[in-house]
């Protein structure tokens, strides 16, 4: 391996074959070392600490080892079970709807006759770069029960106002809607780039074979897009399992537990109830769920790539 031959300050004269060889480790660690130290201090250590914490509980001001007690607590905790059900609901409803919408947008954005493509793309991507607090504020204002723009629109259409953030069902719908608002364009932009990698000639070939636009896409183009669709599905699934932002800033997980997610719950348990052991146990269940889903999907992804 040529790059392993590392000679610091080799004099010009003694160049080439008889170069002084130095351990490649020194130079390599010069580059990778700082990051490795930071990862150890601020990632590996807290990760280990939280795993340890999940087996402890605070009794009379000291942490004592309680084995799997915290994990057993989770099984009987209705709030935690609700948070899992909510996540499953979002996975089953929001992710497919969003990927479907993103696909439609991407296909439309990829039409050869469309003008100002970069402009359209920017408009659809904008929600993804919005600061979380801004996003929370604007949706609270839009969805306010009394005089919010959404309800004024319903009123203008002759419909009853809706209690967007305070009724369990509508709060779920609001959260799903705002997650979709924020991430659909982001996924569409990724899918669009995938579509652009498919050659124009394939559209022409399909058209010559007499396929209409719909057949061309379902039969020829979309099958080639499968790896990119899978990538978007994986990242959205992991994002859903870690969902915090929308549910925390819009509804604080409420009303009741209607929009509670595991990570919102862990934040409340850790930083409001200061029950660190229990929070750590919740965190590790989330980690295991993500690991399981990622493993499953990476398998699919691998199979896809071997095709």
């Amino acid at each position: 391996m040529t790059s392993s031959a590392t000679a610091l300050r080799t004099p010009r004269a003694s160049a080439a074959p008889a170069r002084r060889r130095r351990s490649p480790h020194t130079a390599a660690w010069l580059f990778a070392g700082p990051t490795a130290v930071l990862f150890t201090a601020f990632f590996a250590y807290p990760l280990g600490a939280s795993l340890y914490q999940s087996f402890t509980a605070r009794r009379d001001g000291v942490d004592v080892w309680v084995g799997l007690d915290q994990y057993r607590r989770l099984l009987d905790d209705p709030a935690f079970l609700h948070s899992l059900v909510n996540t499953a609901l979002i996975l089953a409803v929001q992710v497919p709807v969003m990927i479907g919408l993103a696909l439609v947008l991407a296909v439309l954005l990829n039409q050869s006759w469309l003008r100002f493509r970069a402009g359209w793309r920017a408009v659809f991507f904008l929600p993804a770069i919005t600061t979380l607090v801004a996003y929370a504020v604007v949706f609270q204002v839009l969805l306010r029960t009394d005089g919010g723009l959404a309800n004024q629109l319903l009123h203008a259409l002759g419909l009853q106002p809706v209690d967007w953030l305070n009724s369990p069902t509508w709060a779920r719908i609001s959260v799903i809607g705002s997650v979709t608002w924020r991430w659909t364009g982001y996924n569409a932009v990724i899918l669009l780039a995938g579509l652009q990698a498919v050659g124009r000639d394939q559209y022409e070939a399909a058209a010559l074979d007499g396929a209409g636009p719909l057949r061309t896409h379902t039969g020829v183009i979309l099958p080639q897009l499968r790896p990119v669709v899978l990538f978007c599905t994986i990242t959205s699934t992991i994002g859903t399992l870690q969902l915090f932002d929308e549910n925390y800033v819009l509804t604080r997980g409420g009303p009741g537990d209607a929009t509670l997610t595991p990570v919102v719950y862990l934040y409340k348990v850790g930083f409001q109830q200061l029950d660190f052991g229990y929070a750590a146990a919740i965190a590790w269940v989330v980690v295991l769920l993500i690991a399981a889903v990622s493993l499953l999907q990476f398998r699919l992804y691998g199979r896809e790539r071997r095709r």
């Binding site: 790059s3 031959a5 990051t35 601020f42």
Partner: protein, 287 residues
């Protein structure tokens, strides 16, 4: 001769094709309107008083209270100072983090050394761990160090950026070894080779990383919220958040602050759209 060539009469498209295009444009327009309404509302709201926002019918034209809302925002949270804090933190964090990512990516791509597999594995693992798992132990660590309410507590724990390391490693993998060899033969040290020969070649990827890192830090909320607790140290999102908890919420001020908080990223995105998209695709197409 006139410079306009004689164009053949374009044949009229068949009706179904024209209808298809009209439908496609209608769907795109609807999507764009839904996408933009919250931004338009933010901008409009910042020119009205809070009470006017919830009037029926709502205001559709800009009002005259923009400057008054701005002055109020400055009075209530010291918006200018807070903006400078955000800029400073994001700039320092971006500079250090991008440099460290590039160095680490280079080390992983171009050297074989003991611990390389372990480091790469650790980098990949961080991508799967939600930030919230680390929050409690990191918080305790910062408290033990006495770093609560300091800028280094906001910046330091997240300098090592696994996405950045992977992105840079990917771009260095394609860098020809022969060029490195010839730089070494010319007597250039490892660090000098890196800064003078290698880094300039990956400027596009580095640009992508800088932009995405800046955006991430600028938008970062939970960690600064936990770390900072005096107003003159707050970042924009943390300062705006203090306004949401009051009994009488100043919605106009909040909407103006929100718009101003989003504006720098909008400008960045419009200027560097291509790099943004390239960064998103880091994993999607190469994977």
């Amino acid at each position: 001769m006139s410079s306009t060539p004689v164009r053949p009469q374009r044949p009229r498209r068949p009706l179904p094709a024209r209808l298809g295009r009209a439908a496609a444009l209608a769907v795109l327009t609807l999507g764009a309107v839904l996408s933009l309404i919250p931004f338009a509302w933010m901008l409009l709201a910042s020119t009205h008083s809070s009470a006017e926002l919830f009037h029926s019918p709502p205001p559709f034209l800009p009002g005259g209270r923009l400057l008054r809302n701005l002055a109020h925002l400055q009075d209530s949270i010291g918006f200018g100072r807070v903006l400078l804090n955000s800029l400073g933190i994001a700039a320092v964090h971006t500079l250090l983090s991008s440099l460290l990512s590039a160095m680490c990516g280079y080390g992983l791509a171009k050297y074989r050394f003991r611990g390389r597999g372990l480091l790469l594995g650790a980098v990949l693992a961080t991508l799967m761990i939600p930030l919230q798992v680390l929050l409690v132990p990191l918080f305790q660590m910062m408290a033990n160090l006495g770093w609560i309410d300091s800028y280094q507590a906001v910046i330091l724990p997240f300098l090592a950026n696994s996405f950045g390391v992977l992105l840079m490693r990917q771009s260095f993998l394609d860098f020809p070894d022969e060029l490195l060899e010839s730089a070494r033969i010319d007597g250039s040290g490892e660090l000098r080779t890196f800064y003078q020969v290698v880094l300039p070649c990956v400027r596009p990827q580095l640009g992508t990383l800088v932009i995405l890192t800046f955006m991430g830090q600028w938008n970062s909320f939970i960690w600064p919220l936990l770390m900072l607790n005096t107003q003159d140290k707050y970042t924009v999102p943390v300062a705006l958040n203090t306004l949401t908890g009051l009994s009488h919420v100043d919605y106009s001020g909040l909407m103006l602050g929100s718009f101003l908080a989003t504006l720098p990223l909008m400008v960045l995105f419009l200027l560097f759209q291509r790099q943004f998209v390239a960064g998103l695709l880091g994993g999607a197409l190469k994977g």
